[in-house]
Symmetry: C2
Subunit: 220 residues, 2 copies
């Protein structure tokens, strides 16, 4: 069946976390703190999903940031952690996003987001960068009860869009997210901006692109 | 109901990963690589559990190590990743483990392990350090079909031991593991060797100890 609907991950896929990672450095944490913090935040949220539960991204992110900052001996760890999470509301989008989104819309595709983060964060990101009008819906795992890559959020997005899995493609930078989408029958597109190697323990993606504008021609 | 059975996590709870983390440095990766690698390995394995699947720890660990080493520009990343995983077979136990295990046995408790890693790794760790005889069973999530903190592995351990959840206590350094055990009704003991703060997004543990020998008196 032809693809009619493109479901976008948000954090790192549309947004660029580099300024947030830099903030860790500005408060005295080492360079690797940002990526380490993001990996542990995902581990915690996904661990709750594995047990059938959900806590909001911002809450888990604050807890993991505060723990990391305390370990590193950074002062006022709780206050600093709150500030770091606020930086999520001021992120840029990657430079390939505008052209890629325009090409997908020009191809007649419907675009939605499905984030492990809050709807408000994705809404603000898209609005700040003049992209909100290109997206039909901004969906969050919070309405599905579990974080990706549990099945429920993908099935929730398909149900909300009123499409079969075979009509939808999930776009993400994270292989574990695409593996989860593939397991419910969606097509998958790996946005591999850095030119990495697909991990062998996960199902390979349907499409691999180095920049978002390459995707629309692949789906034609 | 009185506690009769103590279920131990293995990696970082019994074993000390410091030599493994040092190996990352020896092959030219920065200091933070070991902890970052371990966090991403857990994220990947738990992500599969959230989607109802299981891959072996060693396979996922090799993939995540190779990806990290490639990103860092370390040569022969795949071969180096294999070597790092082999280092799992030569780990020490933390210095508080022998006395703590002896005290629990002296209190008449039955001890078992339940690891997200392979049974063979836990068997070798316990044998190498003269501890195998103190444990009634060495259990792995591989026989339960999902990694912790999904419910299935805890329920598998209880079923295998023939005990009710209220008769068993889970011992671990990782809060997400204890949260999962608590959710199936087990008591939980946080082995908080570093004196950290319990994360607010998870259910608090039944017991908190700074070293394993403190646990037996708490369970009496």
């Amino acid at each position: 069946m032809a693809i009619t609907t493109v479901v976008f991950d948000v954090n790192e896929t549309l947004s660029d976390l580099t300024p947030l990672h830099r903030r860790f450095g500005e408060i005295g944490a080492p360079d690797w703190s940002g990526p380490y913090w993001f990996a542990t935040t995902l581990r915690e949220g996904i661990a709750l999903a594995a047990g059938g539960e959900l806590r909001p991204f911002a809450e888990i992110g604050r807890e993991t940031a505060a723990q990391l900052l305390r370990r590193l001996g950074v002062r006022w760890a709780d206050a600093r952690a709150r500030e770091l999470l606020e930086a999520f509301l001021e992120l840029p989008v990657h430079p390939d996003v505008h052209d890629g989104v325009a090409a997908l819309r020009a191809a007649g595709l419907r675009l939605v987001t499905l984030s492990n983060g809050a709807t408000a964060v994705a809404e603000k990101l898209l609005s700040d960068h003049g992209l909100r009008g290109q997206f039909d819906a901004v969906l969050s795992v919070e309405d599905a009860g579990l974080w990706k890559p549990a099945r429920a959020p993908y099935e929730y997005a398909l149900r909300t869009c009123g499409v079969a899995a075979s009509e939808a493609v999930m776009v993400a930078v994270h292989p574990w997210d695409l593996h989860g989408a593939g397991r419910v029958g969606m097509a998958t597109a790996w946005l591999d901006r850095a030119g990495e190697t697909w991990p062998g323990h996960l199902d390979p993606p349907t499409h691999t692109v180095r920049a978002l504008p390459e995707l629309a021609p692949r789906l034609a």
